[in-house]
């Protein structure tokens, strides 16, 4: 099912949760709503589900108005952040619930319900847990049962609110991959909310980056990561260093170094923000040219193939976080307290014209 969201506005008292949000989701897509808490991503998800009524704006399912349709008739599967499993029902009854509450006329017979529940429990690989109660399950198991329960009514749209938020790191990673594979198998239009950039970039076909009730950028994981449209997207995705300086004649002046930049647009000069990802730095011992900033090595974390280096700028003492490969690190033979020069191979510059 394709979803169109048009100019959604939602306020809670004085707080503006959604400001004129518009979004298109194609049928069969797996979309992530990514943003910090309070960015409106969960509100958007709940409005699409029908759990929240917008103050204005439209939600269309396959071109048909959905706002005036009751939650019960939207054909939506919803996985809640804390799973919201029915605590007094067994796992089996939890999954069967959506089928059992159907009106008698369309409700499948008991043996069909049983077959369907077992099929779903098989799909989430937990067929052996049917007789247990939610309190007896681990977080990851609850999560998968919640998903099976949502899928039982054969929804046209699957909505997941922070689906991996409450799980520990390893289970989280495993479930992420598993959700991706599940989606590849059943191809149901899916939207999930997350504040975790890795999760969004790894799992989703497209990522919607939200901030303060508005959409900052929509694109594939590569697009939003490599070509962030706004300073917010840049700072929210990946580990990034922010420099303030003045943009003039195609260069940004950062401290005593000057970095070439192409901010795009027609801005000639002004105050600039320059973003540099940790892996976009070059760390050298001898100064070459005037693009490099002198700095002191403060801390080194040499775990795994990438080595993270924290440096203090010599001119203003601010911290720079850089990441180099193991080989580079070994060649440099760095020690804490060493004087080095740091230059950006690449910088994304946003200029405020004055």
């Amino acid at each position: 099912m394709a979803i169109q969201v048009r100019n959604l506005v939602k306020r809670f008292g004085a707080f503006s949760a959604l400001q004129e949000v518009s979004l298109d989701i194609a049928s069969g897509e797996l979309v992530a709503l990514l943003g910090p808490s309070g960015s409106g991503k969960t509100t958007l998800l709940r409005v699409i589900a029908g759990l929240e009524t917008p103050d204005s704006g439209d939600v269309l399912f396959d071109g048909e108005d959905a706002i005036r349709r009751d939650v019960r008739e939207r054909g939506v599967g919803f996985v809640f952040q804390h799973y919201a499993l029915f605590r007094h029902m067994t796992v089996f009854e939890n999954v069967a619930f959506g089928l059992r509450v159907q009106p008698r006329k369309i409700r499948p017979p008991e043996d069909e319900i049983r077959a369907r529940v077992h099929e779903l429990l098989g799909l989430v690989q937990l067929d052996w847990l049917g007789h247990r109660y939610p309190a007896q399950l681990s977080g990851g198991q609850r999560q998968r049962i919640a998903l099976a329960r949502a899928l039982a009514v054969k929804p046209d749209l699957l909505l997941l609110d922070e689906p991996f938020g409450a799980l520990d790191a390893r289970v989280r990673k495993e479930l992420r991959r598993w959700l991706r594979r599940l989606h590849d198998d059943i191809h149901i239009t899916s939207v999930f909310v997350t504040h975790d950039q890795d999760e969004a970039l790894e799992v989703a076909d497209r990522v919607v980056v939200m901030n303060e009730g508005a959409i900052e950028q929509v694109g594939t994981p590569e697009e939003v990561y490599d070509h962030p449209a706004t300073p917010f997207v840049y700072s929210f995705l990946g580990d990034v260093n922010l420099f303030h300086g003045r943009f003039e004649a195609g260069h940004v002046q950062i401290g005593e170094s000057s970095v070439r930049a192409h901010p795009g647009g027609s801005v000639e000069e002004g105050e600039a923000m320059a973003f540099v990802r940790t892996h976009e730095f070059e760390v050298v011992r001898e100064r070459i040219g005037n693009g490099a900033l002198p700095a002191t090595v403060r801390h080194i974390r040499a775990l795994g193939p990438r080595v993270r280096i924290e440096l203090d700028r010599t001119d203003d003492g601010k911290m720079i976080e850089a990441e180099v490969s193991r080989a580079e690190y070994d060649a440099l033979d760095l020690r804490k307290g060493d004087q080095v020069f740091v230059s950006a191979r690449r910088a994304r510059v946003f200029v405020n014209s004055d």
């Binding site: 589900a49 605590r87 509450v101």
Partner: protein
């Protein structure tokens, strides 16, 4: 959740006491002794004396006291009153706690405060309110007289006063429980296609059943035992408008001690049954 927490408590209880929290033996035994003496003087002795008083002249007089037509009428009226007041407050309690725990609306705090009013005000005053409302000189008095409806000094007045006094029990029990459980399960049921009634019957009610039963037991105990408010509106017509507690008072004032204690022993038995039921519900609650 509750089960695991209770399990935790138990496991802590069997662990040897840490030195820092153990008092000298003398202090411990003194504290326990004081508590036991207090319990004996103020709870056990009165409880035993009720039954002792009832059986003082043997089993025959006790049975005669219980079988007295006026006492039996009082038992019937007490049961009838509870049978009306408890379901009324059950319905109200669920409705009010549902509204308070699951929705936000104007005047919510006022409603929460009002629910406690019957606890805050003396039962005698509760009775007086109904006299003011329905008495011959009251607001609705003339209208009621014209239509030949008797509320005061009749069964409806007794039921009304009892309902008022027992109003908070169910709601007080359910509000914190429902607030703690939140609305997520109800939302999940709604998305899965359940109607309002199905959500209530299949999700909300099973989650609150033990709290609900607990509230009903307390409500029932109070409904049967209420004296003050009922005394004001009853009119003390023997065999017609006396509930069991009022009957005890009447018999006592007539120096008919055996009969008074016989009636009192019935009320005391009710109290013991209530305590047992309450304990049983508490245990079940911990297990689920």
């Amino acid at each position: 959740m509750t089960a695991s927490v209770a399990g935790l408590d138990r496991s802590i209880a069997v662990r040897p006491r840490a030195r820092s929290t153990s008092e000298p033996r003398v202090v411990r035994w003194t504290l326990i002794g004081v508590a036991l003496v207090f319990l004996l003087l103020f709870l056990v002795v009165p409880l035993v004396s009720v039954f002792a008083g009832a059986l003082a002249k043997g089993f025959g007089p006790f049975l005669r006291g219980v079988r007295d037509p006026d006492t039996l009428a009082a038992v019937r009226l007490t049961l009838l009153t509870a049978a009306v007041a408890v379901p009324l407050n059950l319905g109200f309690g669920i409705a009010a706690s549902w509204a308070i725990a699951k929705f936000n609306f104007r005047g919510k705090n006022l409603l929460v405060t009002l629910i406690d009013l019957p606890f805050a005000v003396s039962p005698v005053i509760a009775g007086m309110v109904f006299v003011l409302l329905f008495g011959a000189q009251g607001w609705a008095g003339p209208w009621l007289r014209d239509h030949d409806i008797r509320i005061l000094f009749a069964v409806p007045g007794i039921v009304l006063a009892t309902t008022f006094v027992t109003f908070p029990f169910v709601a007080r029990e359910l509000i914190p429980l429902m607030e703690e459980q939140g609305t997520e399960e109800e939302e999940a049921a709604r998305v899965l296609g359940a109607s309002g009634w199905q959500i209530f019957r299949r999700v909300t009610l099973p989650n609150i059943r033990w709290g609900l039963l607990y509230g009903v037991i307390l409500c029932n105990a109070r409904a049967m035992g209420e004296f003050g408010a009922v005394s004001v509106v009853s009119g003390h017509i023997r065999g017609v408008t006396t509930t069991l507690p009022l009957q005890v008072e009447i018999l006592y004032n007539e120096y008919n001690f055996t009969a008074a204690f016989a009636a009192a022993s019935l009320l005391t038995l009710l109290a013991l049954v209530t305590l047992a039921a309450k304990r049983w519900v508490e245990r079940r609650r911990e297990d689920t």
